[in-house]
Symmetry: C2
Subunit: 291 residues, 2 copies
Protein backbone atom coordinates (compact mmCIF):
# COMPACT_ATOMS: atom_id res chain seq x y z
CA UNK A 1 0.00 0.00 0.00
CA UNK A 2 1.37 3.39 -0.95
CA UNK A 3 1.14 5.97 1.82
CA UNK A 4 2.14 9.11 -0.08
CA UNK A 5 0.54 10.26 -3.30
CA UNK A 6 3.10 10.83 -6.10
CA UNK A 7 2.13 14.50 -6.04
CA UNK A 8 -0.06 16.36 -3.58
CA UNK A 9 -3.80 16.38 -4.14
CA UNK A 10 -4.04 20.12 -4.77
CA UNK A 11 -1.08 19.93 -7.17
CA UNK A 12 -2.74 17.08 -9.04
CA UNK A 13 -5.96 19.11 -9.30
CA UNK A 14 -4.10 22.17 -10.60
CA UNK A 15 -2.16 20.10 -13.13
CA UNK A 16 -5.34 18.45 -14.32
CA UNK A 17 -6.88 21.89 -14.80
CA UNK A 18 -3.94 23.02 -16.92
CA UNK A 19 -3.83 19.88 -19.02
CA UNK A 20 -7.50 19.17 -19.59
CA UNK A 21 -9.25 22.47 -18.87
CA UNK A 22 -12.10 20.89 -16.96
CA UNK A 23 -13.64 21.43 -13.56
CA UNK A 24 -16.15 18.62 -13.85
CA UNK A 25 -16.11 15.82 -11.28
CA UNK A 26 -18.23 12.77 -11.95
CA UNK A 27 -19.75 11.22 -8.84
CA UNK A 28 -19.85 7.42 -8.84
CA UNK A 29 -23.03 6.40 -7.00
CA UNK A 30 -24.04 2.96 -8.30
CA UNK A 31 -27.68 2.68 -7.23
CA UNK A 32 -28.85 -0.91 -7.82
CA UNK A 33 -32.37 0.32 -8.60
CA UNK A 34 -31.12 2.50 -11.46
CA UNK A 35 -28.57 0.29 -13.18
CA UNK A 36 -29.04 -0.63 -16.83
CA UNK A 37 -31.05 -3.83 -17.24
CA UNK A 38 -28.07 -5.73 -18.65
CA UNK A 39 -26.14 -5.24 -15.43
CA UNK A 40 -28.88 -5.86 -12.88
CA UNK A 41 -28.39 -8.95 -10.80
CA UNK A 42 -24.76 -9.31 -11.78
CA UNK A 43 -22.57 -9.68 -8.70
CA UNK A 44 -19.97 -7.31 -10.18
CA UNK A 45 -22.52 -4.70 -11.28
CA UNK A 46 -21.24 -1.80 -9.12
CA UNK A 47 -17.70 -2.18 -10.49
CA UNK A 48 -18.73 -2.92 -14.07
CA UNK A 49 -21.11 0.04 -14.22
CA UNK A 50 -18.73 2.56 -12.64
CA UNK A 51 -15.69 1.38 -14.59
CA UNK A 52 -17.59 1.82 -17.86
CA UNK A 53 -18.60 5.34 -16.80
CA UNK A 54 -15.02 6.12 -15.77
CA UNK A 55 -13.55 4.95 -19.07
CA UNK A 56 -16.17 6.86 -21.05
CA UNK A 57 -15.64 10.17 -19.21
CA UNK A 58 -12.06 10.26 -17.90
CA UNK A 59 -10.77 12.76 -20.48
CA UNK A 60 -13.60 15.15 -19.56
CA UNK A 61 -13.13 15.28 -15.79
CA UNK A 62 -10.79 16.76 -13.19
CA UNK A 63 -11.69 14.12 -10.58
CA UNK A 64 -13.88 11.13 -9.83
CA UNK A 65 -15.87 10.94 -6.60
CA UNK A 66 -17.09 7.47 -5.59
CA UNK A 67 -19.73 7.51 -2.83
CA UNK A 68 -18.90 4.76 -0.37
CA UNK A 69 -22.46 4.22 0.94
CA UNK A 70 -23.58 2.82 -2.41
CA UNK A 71 -20.88 0.15 -2.17
CA UNK A 72 -21.23 -0.55 1.57
CA UNK A 73 -24.99 -1.07 1.38
CA UNK A 74 -24.32 -3.78 -1.22
CA UNK A 75 -21.40 -5.53 0.53
CA UNK A 76 -19.24 -4.35 -2.36
CA UNK A 77 -16.22 -2.79 -0.64
CA UNK A 78 -13.95 -5.03 -2.69
CA UNK A 79 -15.47 -3.57 -5.85
CA UNK A 80 -14.82 -0.05 -4.59
CA UNK A 81 -11.17 -1.01 -4.04
CA UNK A 82 -11.02 -2.43 -7.56
CA UNK A 83 -12.69 0.65 -9.03
CA UNK A 84 -10.24 3.09 -7.46
CA UNK A 85 -7.31 0.86 -8.47
CA UNK A 86 -8.70 0.86 -12.01
CA UNK A 87 -8.87 4.68 -12.07
CA UNK A 88 -5.30 4.99 -10.79
CA UNK A 89 -4.03 2.47 -13.36
CA UNK A 90 -6.00 3.52 -16.44
CA UNK A 91 -6.31 7.25 -15.74
CA UNK A 92 -3.45 8.16 -13.41
CA UNK A 93 -3.83 11.86 -14.08
CA UNK A 94 -7.35 11.95 -12.53
CA UNK A 95 -7.45 12.17 -8.72
CA UNK A 96 -10.04 10.26 -6.71
CA UNK A 97 -12.09 11.87 -3.95
CA UNK A 98 -13.65 9.26 -1.67
CA UNK A 99 -17.00 10.63 -0.52
CA UNK A 100 -17.36 9.16 2.95
CA UNK A 101 -18.12 12.15 5.23
CA UNK A 102 -16.30 10.52 8.11
CA UNK A 103 -15.93 12.23 11.45
CA UNK A 104 -14.62 10.70 14.66
CA UNK A 105 -11.91 11.21 17.25
CA UNK A 106 -8.53 9.89 18.23
CA UNK A 107 -7.71 6.33 17.35
CA UNK A 108 -11.04 5.85 15.58
CA UNK A 109 -10.26 8.70 13.20
CA UNK A 110 -6.88 7.09 12.53
CA UNK A 111 -8.65 3.92 11.46
CA UNK A 112 -11.00 5.86 9.18
CA UNK A 113 -7.96 7.58 7.64
CA UNK A 114 -6.34 4.20 7.09
CA UNK A 115 -9.54 3.01 5.43
CA UNK A 116 -9.63 5.97 3.03
CA UNK A 117 -5.97 6.36 2.18
CA UNK A 118 -4.41 2.92 2.64
CA UNK A 119 -7.22 0.49 1.94
CA UNK A 120 -8.91 2.50 -0.82
CA UNK A 121 -5.87 4.55 -1.90
CA UNK A 122 -8.03 7.66 -2.35
CA UNK A 123 -6.29 10.96 -3.09
CA UNK A 124 -8.78 12.89 -0.97
CA UNK A 125 -11.77 12.24 1.28
CA UNK A 126 -14.83 14.16 2.44
CA UNK A 127 -15.15 14.78 6.19
CA UNK A 128 -17.69 16.17 8.65
CA UNK A 129 -16.58 19.08 10.87
CA UNK A 130 -18.84 18.51 13.89
CA UNK A 131 -16.09 17.02 16.07
CA UNK A 132 -13.62 19.81 15.36
CA UNK A 133 -10.01 20.13 14.28
CA UNK A 134 -8.59 17.14 16.12
CA UNK A 135 -11.00 14.85 14.23
CA UNK A 136 -9.48 16.05 10.93
CA UNK A 137 -5.83 15.81 11.99
CA UNK A 138 -5.37 12.05 11.47
CA UNK A 139 -6.39 12.47 7.82
CA UNK A 140 -4.14 15.48 7.28
CA UNK A 141 -1.25 13.54 8.81
CA UNK A 142 -0.99 11.83 5.42
CA UNK A 143 1.32 14.11 3.41
CA UNK A 144 -0.23 15.27 0.17
CA UNK A 145 -3.61 13.67 0.74
CA UNK A 146 -6.58 15.99 0.56
CA UNK A 147 -9.74 16.40 2.61
CA UNK A 148 -12.93 18.37 1.91
CA UNK A 149 -14.82 19.41 5.03
CA UNK A 150 -18.58 19.88 4.87
CA UNK A 151 -19.31 23.60 5.07
CA UNK A 152 -22.62 24.59 3.42
CA UNK A 153 -24.61 21.71 2.04
CA UNK A 154 -27.17 21.61 -0.73
CA UNK A 155 -30.06 20.04 1.22
CA UNK A 156 -32.90 21.99 2.91
CA UNK A 157 -32.02 20.60 6.37
CA UNK A 158 -28.55 22.10 6.05
CA UNK A 159 -30.04 25.27 7.54
CA UNK A 160 -30.72 23.58 10.89
CA UNK A 161 -27.13 23.94 12.03
CA UNK A 162 -25.08 25.60 9.29
CA UNK A 163 -27.12 28.83 9.21
CA UNK A 164 -27.16 29.47 12.96
CA UNK A 165 -25.84 32.91 13.78
CA UNK A 166 -22.80 32.53 16.03
CA UNK A 167 -21.82 36.02 17.10
CA UNK A 168 -22.41 37.78 13.78
CA UNK A 169 -20.97 34.91 11.78
CA UNK A 170 -22.97 31.94 10.64
CA UNK A 171 -21.74 28.47 11.52
CA UNK A 172 -20.76 27.63 7.93
CA UNK A 173 -18.71 30.85 7.77
CA UNK A 174 -16.94 29.86 10.97
CA UNK A 175 -16.16 26.45 9.46
CA UNK A 176 -14.75 28.12 6.33
CA UNK A 177 -12.56 30.34 8.49
CA UNK A 178 -11.25 27.44 10.57
CA UNK A 179 -10.55 25.36 7.46
CA UNK A 180 -8.61 28.24 5.92
CA UNK A 181 -6.49 28.72 9.04
CA UNK A 182 -6.00 26.54 12.11
CA UNK A 183 -7.46 23.31 10.73
CA UNK A 184 -5.41 23.22 7.53
CA UNK A 185 -2.48 21.24 8.87
CA UNK A 186 -1.03 19.94 5.60
CA UNK A 187 -2.21 22.65 3.19
CA UNK A 188 -4.52 20.16 1.48
CA UNK A 189 -7.83 21.00 3.12
CA UNK A 190 -10.85 22.07 1.07
CA UNK A 191 -14.55 22.73 1.62
CA UNK A 192 -17.82 21.24 0.39
CA UNK A 193 -20.25 23.98 -0.65
CA UNK A 194 -23.53 23.17 -2.38
CA UNK A 195 -24.31 24.73 -5.75
CA UNK A 196 -27.84 25.50 -4.65
CA UNK A 197 -26.79 28.44 -2.46
CA UNK A 198 -24.67 30.80 -4.62
CA UNK A 199 -24.72 33.69 -2.16
CA UNK A 200 -23.26 31.48 0.53
CA UNK A 201 -20.74 30.04 -1.89
CA UNK A 202 -19.56 33.61 -2.51
CA UNK A 203 -19.15 34.12 1.26
CA UNK A 204 -17.13 30.93 1.58
CA UNK A 205 -14.86 31.95 -1.30
CA UNK A 206 -14.32 35.39 0.25
CA UNK A 207 -13.34 33.80 3.57
CA UNK A 208 -11.23 31.01 2.08
CA UNK A 209 -9.90 32.18 -1.30
CA UNK A 210 -7.11 29.62 -1.45
CA UNK A 211 -9.04 26.50 -0.57
CA UNK A 212 -10.26 24.01 -3.14
CA UNK A 213 -14.05 23.90 -3.21
CA UNK A 214 -16.02 20.76 -3.96
CA UNK A 215 -19.41 21.87 -5.26
CA UNK A 216 -22.16 19.24 -5.48
CA UNK A 217 -25.72 20.03 -6.42
CA UNK A 218 -25.65 20.67 -10.18
CA UNK A 219 -27.55 18.32 -12.43
CA UNK A 220 -30.21 16.32 -10.58
CA UNK A 221 -30.23 18.73 -7.62
CA UNK A 222 -30.84 21.75 -9.85
CA UNK A 223 -27.88 23.98 -9.02
CA UNK A 224 -27.14 26.57 -11.70
CA UNK A 225 -23.60 26.44 -13.10
CA UNK A 226 -23.46 30.07 -14.22
CA UNK A 227 -24.77 31.32 -10.88
CA UNK A 228 -22.28 29.28 -8.90
CA UNK A 229 -19.29 30.35 -11.00
CA UNK A 230 -20.30 34.00 -10.81
CA UNK A 231 -20.70 33.65 -7.06
CA UNK A 232 -17.27 32.07 -6.75
CA UNK A 233 -15.72 34.87 -8.78
CA UNK A 234 -17.46 37.58 -6.79
CA UNK A 235 -16.36 35.99 -3.52
CA UNK A 236 -12.78 35.79 -4.76
CA UNK A 237 -12.94 39.48 -5.73
CA UNK A 238 -13.73 40.34 -2.10
CA UNK A 239 -10.69 38.47 -0.85
CA UNK A 240 -7.21 39.93 -0.56
CA UNK A 241 -6.02 40.97 -4.04
CA UNK A 242 -3.45 38.63 -5.46
CA UNK A 243 -4.40 35.78 -3.16
CA UNK A 244 -3.81 32.40 -4.76
CA UNK A 245 -7.19 31.03 -5.74
CA UNK A 246 -8.11 27.45 -5.01
CA UNK A 247 -9.61 25.06 -7.52
CA UNK A 248 -13.33 24.61 -7.99
CA UNK A 249 -14.49 21.04 -8.49
CA UNK A 250 -18.07 20.82 -9.73
CA UNK A 251 -19.66 17.46 -9.08
CA UNK A 252 -22.49 15.85 -10.98
CA UNK A 253 -23.55 12.30 -10.23
CA UNK A 254 -27.01 11.12 -11.22
CA UNK A 255 -27.50 13.43 -14.22
CA UNK A 256 -24.44 11.83 -15.80
CA UNK A 257 -24.60 8.25 -14.50
CA UNK A 258 -28.21 7.75 -15.47
CA UNK A 259 -28.35 9.94 -18.59
CA UNK A 260 -29.19 6.85 -20.65
CA UNK A 261 -31.18 3.96 -19.27
CA UNK A 262 -30.29 1.32 -21.85
CA UNK A 263 -27.29 -0.41 -23.33
CA UNK A 264 -25.90 2.95 -24.41
CA UNK A 265 -25.47 4.15 -20.84
CA UNK A 266 -21.74 4.84 -21.14
CA UNK A 267 -22.13 6.82 -24.37
CA UNK A 268 -25.06 8.73 -22.86
CA UNK A 269 -22.99 9.47 -19.76
CA UNK A 270 -20.14 10.72 -21.95
CA UNK A 271 -22.48 13.03 -23.84
CA UNK A 272 -23.94 14.40 -20.60
CA UNK A 273 -20.47 14.87 -19.10
CA UNK A 274 -19.27 16.66 -22.23
CA UNK A 275 -22.27 19.02 -22.16
CA UNK A 276 -21.65 19.79 -18.49
CA UNK A 277 -17.91 20.33 -18.95
CA UNK A 278 -18.60 22.62 -21.89
CA UNK A 279 -21.23 24.57 -19.99
CA UNK A 280 -18.72 25.11 -17.19
CA UNK A 281 -16.07 26.22 -19.73
CA UNK A 282 -18.54 28.60 -21.33
CA UNK A 283 -19.47 30.17 -17.99
CA UNK A 284 -15.93 30.60 -16.74
CA UNK A 285 -14.62 32.74 -19.61
CA UNK A 286 -12.02 35.15 -18.31
CA UNK A 287 -10.97 33.21 -15.24
CA UNK A 288 -7.26 32.52 -15.15
CA UNK A 289 -6.15 28.94 -14.52
CA UNK A 290 -5.75 27.94 -10.88
CA UNK A 291 -2.17 27.75 -9.68
CA UNK B 1 -32.93 -9.54 6.30
CA UNK B 2 -35.25 -8.38 9.04
CA UNK B 3 -36.42 -4.79 8.66
CA UNK B 4 -38.18 -4.27 11.99
CA UNK B 5 -36.64 -4.97 15.37
CA UNK B 6 -38.77 -7.34 17.49
CA UNK B 7 -39.23 -4.50 19.95
CA UNK B 8 -38.23 -0.86 19.64
CA UNK B 9 -34.72 0.13 20.60
CA UNK B 10 -35.76 2.32 23.53
CA UNK B 11 -38.08 -0.43 24.80
CA UNK B 12 -35.27 -2.96 24.57
CA UNK B 13 -32.99 -0.62 26.53
CA UNK B 14 -35.61 -0.06 29.23
CA UNK B 15 -36.31 -3.78 29.51
CA UNK B 16 -32.62 -4.52 29.77
CA UNK B 17 -32.36 -1.97 32.59
CA UNK B 18 -35.19 -3.64 34.50
CA UNK B 19 -33.87 -7.14 34.00
CA UNK B 20 -30.15 -6.68 34.47
CA UNK B 21 -29.82 -3.36 36.33
CA UNK B 22 -26.88 -2.18 34.26
CA UNK B 23 -26.12 0.94 32.28
CA UNK B 24 -22.77 -0.23 31.01
CA UNK B 25 -22.18 -0.45 27.28
CA UNK B 26 -19.03 -2.19 26.09
CA UNK B 27 -17.51 -0.66 22.96
CA UNK B 28 -16.04 -3.17 20.53
CA UNK B 29 -12.99 -1.52 18.93
CA UNK B 30 -10.65 -4.32 17.81
CA UNK B 31 -7.34 -2.50 17.33
CA UNK B 32 -4.89 -4.87 15.60
CA UNK B 33 -1.97 -3.28 17.47
CA UNK B 34 -3.51 -4.11 20.85
CA UNK B 35 -4.83 -7.64 20.35
CA UNK B 36 -3.56 -10.47 22.55
CA UNK B 37 -0.50 -12.14 21.05
CA UNK B 38 -2.35 -15.40 20.45
CA UNK B 39 -4.77 -13.67 18.09
CA UNK B 40 -2.38 -11.44 16.16
CA UNK B 41 -2.01 -12.37 12.54
CA UNK B 42 -5.11 -14.55 12.56
CA UNK B 43 -7.44 -13.58 9.70
CA UNK B 44 -10.48 -13.88 11.99
CA UNK B 45 -8.89 -11.93 14.85
CA UNK B 46 -11.42 -9.04 14.95
CA UNK B 47 -14.36 -11.45 15.22
CA UNK B 48 -12.64 -13.90 17.56
CA UNK B 49 -11.48 -11.16 19.93
CA UNK B 50 -14.80 -9.30 20.05
CA UNK B 51 -16.93 -12.46 20.32
CA UNK B 52 -14.87 -13.59 23.31
CA UNK B 53 -15.34 -10.18 24.96
CA UNK B 54 -19.07 -10.28 24.19
CA UNK B 55 -19.55 -13.73 25.69
CA UNK B 56 -17.53 -12.79 28.78
CA UNK B 57 -19.46 -9.56 29.49
CA UNK B 58 -22.99 -9.94 28.06
CA UNK B 59 -24.72 -10.39 31.43
CA UNK B 60 -23.09 -7.17 32.69
CA UNK B 61 -24.10 -4.80 29.88
CA UNK B 62 -27.14 -2.96 28.57
CA UNK B 63 -25.73 -2.73 25.04
CA UNK B 64 -22.75 -3.46 22.83
CA UNK B 65 -21.30 -0.79 20.58
CA UNK B 66 -19.07 -2.03 17.75
CA UNK B 67 -17.04 0.75 16.07
CA UNK B 68 -17.15 0.20 12.32
CA UNK B 69 -13.85 1.96 11.49
CA UNK B 70 -11.85 -0.75 13.23
CA UNK B 71 -13.42 -3.34 10.96
CA UNK B 72 -13.36 -1.26 7.76
CA UNK B 73 -9.67 -0.39 8.07
CA UNK B 74 -8.96 -4.14 8.18
CA UNK B 75 -11.28 -5.22 5.32
CA UNK B 76 -13.29 -7.08 7.96
CA UNK B 77 -16.87 -6.00 7.25
CA UNK B 78 -17.89 -9.65 7.03
CA UNK B 79 -16.56 -10.18 10.55
CA UNK B 80 -18.61 -7.23 11.80
CA UNK B 81 -21.71 -8.83 10.26
CA UNK B 82 -20.84 -12.12 11.94
CA UNK B 83 -20.20 -10.41 15.27
CA UNK B 84 -23.56 -8.63 15.35
CA UNK B 85 -25.32 -11.82 14.24
CA UNK B 86 -23.56 -13.62 17.09
CA UNK B 87 -24.75 -11.05 19.63
CA UNK B 88 -28.34 -11.29 18.38
CA UNK B 89 -28.25 -15.09 18.49
CA UNK B 90 -26.36 -15.69 21.74
CA UNK B 91 -27.52 -12.61 23.69
CA UNK B 92 -30.82 -11.52 22.14
CA UNK B 93 -31.69 -9.33 25.11
CA UNK B 94 -28.70 -7.01 24.49
CA UNK B 95 -29.23 -4.35 21.80
CA UNK B 96 -26.42 -3.41 19.41
CA UNK B 97 -25.48 0.21 18.67
CA UNK B 98 -23.42 0.48 15.49
CA UNK B 99 -20.99 3.35 16.00
CA UNK B 100 -20.60 4.76 12.47
CA UNK B 101 -21.31 8.52 12.83
CA UNK B 102 -22.81 8.63 9.37
CA UNK B 103 -24.23 11.82 7.92
CA UNK B 104 -25.32 12.41 4.35
CA UNK B 105 -28.36 13.47 2.36
CA UNK B 106 -31.16 12.01 0.31
CA UNK B 107 -30.51 8.75 -1.47
CA UNK B 108 -27.01 8.47 0.01
CA UNK B 109 -28.42 8.57 3.54
CA UNK B 110 -30.87 5.84 2.51
CA UNK B 111 -27.95 3.64 1.51
CA UNK B 112 -26.16 4.30 4.79
CA UNK B 113 -29.37 3.37 6.65
CA UNK B 114 -29.57 0.17 4.63
CA UNK B 115 -25.96 -0.56 5.55
CA UNK B 116 -26.61 -0.10 9.29
CA UNK B 117 -30.02 -1.71 9.67
CA UNK B 118 -30.28 -4.28 6.87
CA UNK B 119 -26.72 -5.36 6.21
CA UNK B 120 -25.49 -5.19 9.81
CA UNK B 121 -28.88 -5.60 11.54
CA UNK B 122 -27.95 -3.04 14.18
CA UNK B 123 -30.63 -1.92 16.63
CA UNK B 124 -29.32 1.65 16.65
CA UNK B 125 -26.65 3.73 14.95
CA UNK B 126 -24.68 6.88 15.76
CA UNK B 127 -25.12 9.84 13.40
CA UNK B 128 -23.61 13.27 12.82
CA UNK B 129 -25.99 16.28 12.90
CA UNK B 130 -24.13 18.67 10.59
CA UNK B 131 -26.43 18.09 7.60
CA UNK B 132 -29.62 18.62 9.61
CA UNK B 133 -32.92 16.85 10.11
CA UNK B 134 -33.39 15.52 6.59
CA UNK B 135 -30.11 13.62 6.86
CA UNK B 136 -31.46 11.74 9.89
CA UNK B 137 -34.88 10.96 8.44
CA UNK B 138 -33.90 7.92 6.32
CA UNK B 139 -32.60 6.21 9.46
CA UNK B 140 -35.69 7.07 11.52
CA UNK B 141 -37.87 5.72 8.71
CA UNK B 142 -37.03 2.28 10.09
CA UNK B 143 -39.69 1.67 12.76
CA UNK B 144 -38.23 0.90 16.15
CA UNK B 145 -34.62 1.42 15.16
CA UNK B 146 -32.68 3.93 17.20
CA UNK B 147 -30.19 6.66 16.38
CA UNK B 148 -27.86 8.67 18.62
CA UNK B 149 -26.92 12.07 17.23
CA UNK B 150 -23.60 13.62 18.18
CA UNK B 151 -24.29 16.51 20.56
CA UNK B 152 -21.36 17.30 22.88
CA UNK B 153 -18.30 15.18 22.32
CA UNK B 154 -15.51 14.24 24.69
CA UNK B 155 -12.54 15.50 22.61
CA UNK B 156 -10.87 18.91 23.02
CA UNK B 157 -11.66 19.91 19.39
CA UNK B 158 -15.34 19.45 20.12
CA UNK B 159 -15.32 23.09 21.29
CA UNK B 160 -14.55 24.37 17.77
CA UNK B 161 -18.15 24.07 16.66
CA UNK B 162 -20.25 22.66 19.50
CA UNK B 163 -19.50 25.51 21.94
CA UNK B 164 -20.23 28.38 19.55
CA UNK B 165 -22.80 30.75 21.00
CA UNK B 166 -25.77 30.87 18.66
CA UNK B 167 -28.08 33.56 20.00
CA UNK B 168 -27.72 32.78 23.70
CA UNK B 169 -27.73 29.06 23.11
CA UNK B 170 -24.64 27.04 22.31
CA UNK B 171 -24.67 24.85 19.23
CA UNK B 172 -24.78 21.60 21.25
CA UNK B 173 -27.81 22.91 23.16
CA UNK B 174 -29.53 23.70 19.89
CA UNK B 175 -28.82 20.15 18.68
CA UNK B 176 -30.28 18.74 21.90
CA UNK B 177 -33.40 20.84 21.44
CA UNK B 178 -33.86 19.79 17.81
CA UNK B 179 -33.31 16.12 18.69
CA UNK B 180 -35.93 16.36 21.44
CA UNK B 181 -38.50 17.94 19.12
CA UNK B 182 -38.58 18.30 15.33
CA UNK B 183 -35.90 15.76 14.46
CA UNK B 184 -37.32 12.89 16.53
CA UNK B 185 -39.50 11.37 13.84
CA UNK B 186 -39.90 7.86 15.24
CA UNK B 187 -39.46 8.54 18.97
CA UNK B 188 -36.20 6.59 18.96
CA UNK B 189 -33.67 9.40 18.73
CA UNK B 190 -30.99 9.86 21.37
CA UNK B 191 -27.88 11.98 21.90
CA UNK B 192 -24.16 11.36 22.30
CA UNK B 193 -22.75 13.40 25.21
CA UNK B 194 -19.19 12.91 26.44
CA UNK B 195 -18.57 12.04 30.07
CA UNK B 196 -15.71 14.54 30.24
CA UNK B 197 -18.05 17.56 30.37
CA UNK B 198 -20.55 16.97 33.22
CA UNK B 199 -21.89 20.53 33.26
CA UNK B 200 -22.84 20.28 29.61
CA UNK B 201 -24.30 16.83 30.13
CA UNK B 202 -26.58 18.41 32.75
CA UNK B 203 -27.67 21.05 30.20
CA UNK B 204 -28.42 18.39 27.61
CA UNK B 205 -30.50 16.39 30.11
CA UNK B 206 -32.42 19.52 31.12
CA UNK B 207 -33.23 20.26 27.46
CA UNK B 208 -33.97 16.66 26.48
CA UNK B 209 -35.14 14.76 29.58
CA UNK B 210 -36.79 11.97 27.64
CA UNK B 211 -34.01 11.12 25.22
CA UNK B 212 -31.63 8.22 25.69
CA UNK B 213 -28.08 9.46 26.20
CA UNK B 214 -25.04 7.57 25.00
CA UNK B 215 -22.12 8.68 27.15
CA UNK B 216 -18.62 7.77 26.00
CA UNK B 217 -15.48 8.95 27.72
CA UNK B 218 -15.25 6.93 30.92
CA UNK B 219 -12.33 4.56 31.34
CA UNK B 220 -9.42 5.38 29.04
CA UNK B 221 -10.68 8.92 28.40
CA UNK B 222 -10.89 9.71 32.11
CA UNK B 223 -14.55 10.71 32.52
CA UNK B 224 -15.77 10.43 36.10
CA UNK B 225 -18.80 8.17 36.58
CA UNK B 226 -20.07 9.81 39.76
CA UNK B 227 -19.78 13.29 38.25
CA UNK B 228 -21.63 12.32 35.09
CA UNK B 229 -24.47 10.60 36.95
CA UNK B 230 -24.88 13.54 39.32
CA UNK B 231 -24.91 15.88 36.33
CA UNK B 232 -27.53 13.80 34.61
CA UNK B 233 -29.70 13.80 37.73
CA UNK B 234 -29.33 17.54 38.25
CA UNK B 235 -30.25 18.20 34.62
CA UNK B 236 -33.30 15.97 34.92
CA UNK B 237 -34.34 17.86 38.05
CA UNK B 238 -34.42 21.09 36.03
CA UNK B 239 -36.74 19.55 33.45
CA UNK B 240 -40.50 19.46 33.69
CA UNK B 241 -41.49 17.47 36.79
CA UNK B 242 -42.85 14.06 35.97
CA UNK B 243 -41.25 13.99 32.54
CA UNK B 244 -40.38 10.48 31.45
CA UNK B 245 -36.62 10.13 31.78
CA UNK B 246 -34.59 8.55 29.03
CA UNK B 247 -32.01 5.85 29.57
CA UNK B 248 -28.34 6.58 30.14
CA UNK B 249 -25.92 4.27 28.35
CA UNK B 250 -22.35 4.61 29.64
CA UNK B 251 -19.77 3.34 27.19
CA UNK B 252 -16.33 2.05 27.97
CA UNK B 253 -14.18 0.52 25.24
CA UNK B 254 -10.41 0.34 25.69
CA UNK B 255 -10.38 0.12 29.50
CA UNK B 256 -12.42 -3.08 29.22
CA UNK B 257 -11.16 -4.58 25.95
CA UNK B 258 -7.51 -4.25 26.85
CA UNK B 259 -7.74 -4.76 30.63
CA UNK B 260 -5.57 -7.86 30.28
CA UNK B 261 -2.88 -8.19 27.68
CA UNK B 262 -2.39 -11.94 27.74
CA UNK B 263 -4.33 -15.16 27.32
CA UNK B 264 -6.67 -14.10 30.11
CA UNK B 265 -8.00 -11.13 28.16
CA UNK B 266 -11.66 -12.22 28.31
CA UNK B 267 -11.56 -12.83 32.06
CA UNK B 268 -9.75 -9.52 32.59
CA UNK B 269 -12.35 -7.76 30.46
CA UNK B 270 -15.12 -9.35 32.50
CA UNK B 271 -13.53 -8.21 35.75
CA UNK B 272 -13.12 -4.65 34.41
CA UNK B 273 -16.70 -4.61 33.12
CA UNK B 274 -18.02 -5.84 36.45
CA UNK B 275 -16.11 -3.17 38.35
CA UNK B 276 -17.45 -0.49 36.01
CA UNK B 277 -21.03 -1.76 36.19
CA UNK B 278 -20.81 -1.89 39.98
CA UNK B 279 -19.33 1.60 40.18
CA UNK B 280 -22.24 2.88 38.09
CA UNK B 281 -24.73 1.04 40.34
CA UNK B 282 -23.08 2.46 43.44
CA UNK B 283 -23.25 6.02 42.08
CA UNK B 284 -26.85 5.84 40.95
CA UNK B 285 -28.40 4.99 44.32
CA UNK B 286 -31.83 6.53 44.56
CA UNK B 287 -32.54 6.86 40.86
CA UNK B 288 -35.75 5.12 39.84
CA UNK B 289 -35.54 2.71 36.89
CA UNK B 290 -36.08 4.25 33.47
CA UNK B 291 -39.49 3.63 31.97
Amino acid sequence: LSLAAPMSFTTALARRWQEADTRLCVGLDPDPARLPAALRGRADAPFAFCAAIVDATADLVCAFKPQIAFFSAQRAEDQLEDLIAHIHRAHPQVPVILDAKRGDIGSTAEHYAREAFERYAADAVTLSPYLGGDSLAPFLAYPGRGAFVLCRTSNPGGDDLQMLDAGGQRVFERIAHLAATRWNLNGELGLVVGATYPAELARVRAIAPQLPLLVPGVGAQGGDIQALLQAEASGAAQAEPGARRGAVVINSSRAILYAGGGEDYAAAARAAAQRTRDEIRHCQVGRPPAT
